[in-house]
């Protein structure tokens, strides 16, 4: 299979005062053209560093290694910074969480939109401007031409995020990496932006790595899901596999925490995942989730491999857990 993005055993290590921090401890993924992979996990699980590693945007102190990181057949790990810069913003682009901090307040949005295209594709200003207007209209911004001369502070949060998405599309990328793109937005705006991203993706055929902690968002947009915990994927599968037949105790725990409109009863107790994430300095001994897991046993002292449960549904747990019911979490 020829996947667009293929990652094997990607690791990120950061030397800190107390030792070697290992926030990403070997993740593997394959992403096909036009597909959406959601990486879901709680704060500190390493999902944002994973996205930065894919983009080659890690801070200088961080060390990134892996057995493979290829994009469209090209090995990204071997690229120089200059070669990577040529790829970034053109074939791979990124949408960040906070549109206010990722837009430059001193330049008009028009300047910021066309900058990348002029630099990457060497087109004229007028041509880039036309493309910018075309894309602003695509992302649902009215009076697009007049917006080009506005500064970021003159736009609302929802509009800024639309501008960021338009910007990521300027050079017609094959892959978009979106890190919590709707988390800072109101719910109605979130729904509109997600709808728009999904429609654009269907129309333009790009692949998407979507990083979020919001399981509601994940359920609605993902083709495939990777549940991340303590720097590794603990469960991967299609959206239906993860939500309908979750296998890893962490995935089950997370799902039991959510109040589901129309399903959980008013005021009924929600599930919980007690405890805290392990420190990732010097790595983790055994299963990273063991300290919070209700099914912990001696075998959990050895880190389990990600093993296939059929049909591309994989889980990293020594337990064969179809019998673990959600109810067991309610009392945890």
């Amino acid at each position: 299979m020829n996947s667009l993005l293929s990652v094997r055993n990607l690791r990120v290590e950061i030397p800190v005062g107390a030792g070697l921090l290992k926030p990403v401890r070997g993740i593997s993924l394959d992403l096909n053209k036009g597909e959406t992979l959601c990486i879901v996990g709680e704060s500190g699980c390493g999902k944002s560093l994973t996205s930065l590693a894919l983009m080659g945007l890690l801070p200088k102190v961080a060390r990134c290694s892996g057995d493979r990181l290829s994009f469209g057949g090209q090995d990204l790990l071997g690229l120089t910074e200059r070669q990577m810069a040529r790829l970034r913003g053109r074939a791979i682009s990124m949408v960040f969480q906070e549109p206010m901090t990722s837009l430059n307040p001193a330049y008009t949005i028009g300047d910021q939109l066309i900058e990348g295209m002029i630099r990457h594709d060497g087109v004229s200003r007028a041509k880039a401007r036309d493309r910018a207007i075309f894309l602003l209209e695509k992302v649902g911004i009215t009076a697009a031409a007049s917006r080009l001369s506005q500064f970021p502070h003159q736009l609302s949060g929802g509009l800024r995020q639309r501008v960021m998405i338009a910007m990521s599309l300027m050079c017609g990328p094959d892959l978009i990496i979106a890190d919590e793109p709707t988390t800072a937005l109101d719910v109605t705006i979130q729904a509109k932006i997600l709808r728009m991203m999904k429609d654009l993706q269907a129309e333009l055929g790009m692949a998407m790595v979507f990083i979020t902690h919001d399981l509601g968002v994940v359920a609605r947009i993902a083709d495939r899901i990777a549940v991340m915990y303590a720097g590794i994927f603990v469960e991967t599968g299609t959206a239906r596999q993860i939500f309908d037949t979750p296998t890893h105790p962490y995935t089950k725990g997370l799902l039991s925490c959510l109040p589901v409109p129309g399903k959980t009863k008013l005021g009924a107790r929600l599930g919980a995942v007690p405890g805290v994430v392990p420190a990732l300095i010097g790595g983790v001994q055994g299963c990273g989730f063991a300290s919070r897991c209700p099914l912990r046993q001696a075998a959990c002292d050895i880190e389990p491999e990600l093993s296939e449960r059929g049909d591309g549904h994989s889980c990293r747990c020594v337990h064969d857990t179809p019998t673990l019911r959600k109810a067991e979490w309610a009392t945890a």
Binding site: D186, T188, G216, A219, G253, C257, P259, V260, G271
Partner: protein, 333 residues
């Protein structure tokens, strides 16, 4: 409102009648300042023992309402009554013994230089409650109540996780034995696995201590889970209010409909909703004429841009929309 008939005065913890709060916003050095109506003629009751959910998008006035109820802001117009007594006849301290807040971000709402013990006893110190010797007992009882281990009594917030910090904030609110707790986005800054624990704790405490909550949140799934009644705010007004079950089942106001359509339930068989909501949140300094929601409303008529709708009773509760006003319906037809 129609609710008044259903609740006896002694059952009402807090009551707002026609409350408005206007801020003067500077438009620049030489321009005259303009009024911003953060709260516009709000009438609302908080009944003893209930959880009233207050929902709406950023900038709709939710937090200003919380500040008014905490006595941190004085309303420009209208009355606030607490346990059937006028708010204005009491000082801040009297109010603080009955109403306490829990804020959104436990990282910024706790003083990082103080220990848990100092943070939790601060309200006692401010109000000179009881003897200093009795405070330690009080603190340990509170730690038990909110599920924190006693060993954390001398810890600093910086040594604690987000969930533990929010438990400290809850303990600080409850040590005054308030009857009403204003929860302003209490779980928004927390991870899902921690959010569920805090929600469980808030529900347990309500049962145990007979608390009344005003629960402000933009997370509608959480509000549906915890609230018995819901008020939906838009641009400083309550556009719909009623029992939670009714509002989540059959919302009437077009804005409430759009808001509920936007809830993303974790169901992979469903697509991203196509929310029927035009345009952007208007500039609150320059609100639209008539019904302030009309520029975004798919069902707006010419009447909506001319005439400001008044609350129409929808027993039990109300909706502020011409479409649901039987008198205006005739005019429109």
């Amino acid at each position: 409102m129609g609710d008044r008939m259903m609740a006896e005065p002694q059952d009402i913890a807090l009551e707002l009648s026609g409350v408005s709060k206007t801020y003067q916003i500077s438009q620049g050095l030489f321009a005259a300042s303009k009024p911003l109506r953060a709260l516009d003629n709000i009438s609302l009751q908080l009944r003893r023992g209930e959880v009233l959910g207050l929902v709406g998008e950023s900038g709709c006035g939710k937090s200003t309402l919380a500040k008014v109820l905490l006595g941190l802001e004085k309303p420009t117009r209208g009355d606030v009554r607490i346990f059937d007594q006028p708010f204005g006849s009491h000082d801040r301290k009297w109010i603080a013994r009955r109403i306490q807040p829990i804020f959104q971000d436990p990282y910024s709402s706790l003083n990082p230089r103080k220990s848990v013990r100092e943070i939790i006893t601060l309200p006692l110190r401010v109000h000179s409650v009881g003897k200093t010797s009795g405070w330690n007992d009080g603190v340990s009882r509170m730690l038990d109540l909110v599920g924190l281990p006693q060993r954390l009594i001398d810890a600093n917030p910086s040594q604690m996780s987000g969930g533990q910090r929010q438990r400290v904030a809850i303990a600080r609110a409850l040590i005054m034995r308030p009857e009403v707790v204003i929860c302003d986005e209490p779980t928004s800054a927390l991870d899902v696995s921690v959010q569920s624990q805090i929600l469980n704790l808030l529900m347990d405490l309500r049962d145990e201590l007979g608390l009344t909550y005003l629960f402000i949140s933009h997370n509608l799934a959480v509000v549906e889970h915890i609230a018995s009644r819901v008020a939906v705010m838009y641009l400083g007004r309550v556009v719909e209010q009623g029992p939670a079950a009714r509002i989540f089942e059959t919302p009437k106001h077009p804005y409430a409909v759009a808001l509920l359509d936007s809830i993303l339930t974790p169901d992979p068989s469903m697509d991203v909703p196509d929310v029927d909501l035009d345009g952007n949140f208007p500039n609150p300094v320059d609100p639209p004429s008539g019904c302030t929601f009309h520029p975004r409303c798919a069902s707006a008529t010419s009447l909506c841009s001319r005439l400001r709708p008044e609350p129409v009773q929808q027993a039990p509760g109300f909706v502020t929309c011409h479409l649901h006003d039987p008198n205006q319906q005739k005019d429109m037809a």
